[in-house]
Homo-oligomer: 134 residues x 2
């Protein structure tokens, strides 16, 4: 059911300084940076092994990611797992009584489906699910 | 320099309930559970892709992991990266001015070398480094 970890997201106040640590000092590779207006973030993609670190810089102080950072400070924001069938996964979690942030998946412009599981159901970890377009 | 993510560690109050979510409900595989007395934790190993989730239950309320959970609540504790040469990595980070928790690596009973980088140098993320025994 779970194929792999697609990415681990880290919220940062400022991408340039974060890239200086993760890439220039620690030695990860920088694939690319892109804006994700729907989430109000600029994202740097750092592939490592079969997964990736994603650095998220909020671009709107009222967004969910910005409010998370205001409350908890910068650091790890969520883990994203790839699944075969996100609809079946959400149905199973719901049947098990796990609280969901998104009752159904959203379909992105690239065909990817995604949804978040509530951290109160996971022991304090914000979990994202991806079903990639085939 | 960085080969892959060895594991993502999640601190939990109680392993049985955590395994119920991550394994029985979400569908990750449980490899094994073992005690790590030097860190005062019981650890459940859940491989996923080329990395793993490690669930940490503190076994001593005065330990570093227990105090982290008391302060921040349960959730993600650290990310561990595998490197080729941990001594060279620590030297490079020190030369770049990155604060380290461990100035030199500790060698575990299985020959693995490990050290922690201070979260104040990484933007709020506790980073562990591993050099596995060859």
């Amino acid at each position: 059911m779970i194929k792999k970890i697609n990415h681990i997201a880290i919220v940062v106040p400022e991408l340039t300084a974060a890239i200086d640590f993760w890439v220039a000092k620690l030695g990860l590779a920088l694939d690319h940076v892109e804006g994700v207006p729907s989430q109000a973030v600029e994202v740097a993609f750092l592939p490592v092994g079969d997964t990736a670190i994603e650095l998220l810089q909020p671009t709107d102080e009222a967004s969910g990611v910005a409010r998370y950072m205001q409350k908890r400070g910068p650091g790890i924001h969520h883990i994203c797992f790839e699944v075969d069938d996100i609809g079946a996964t959400l149905d199973q979690l719901r049947a098990e009584g796990v609280p969901l942030i998104d009752e159904t998946a959203t379909v992105g412009s690239d065909g990817r489906k995604y949804a978040f599981v509530h951290p109160k159901g996971t022991g304090g970890v914000l979990v994202e699910l991806y079903e990639l377009a085939t």
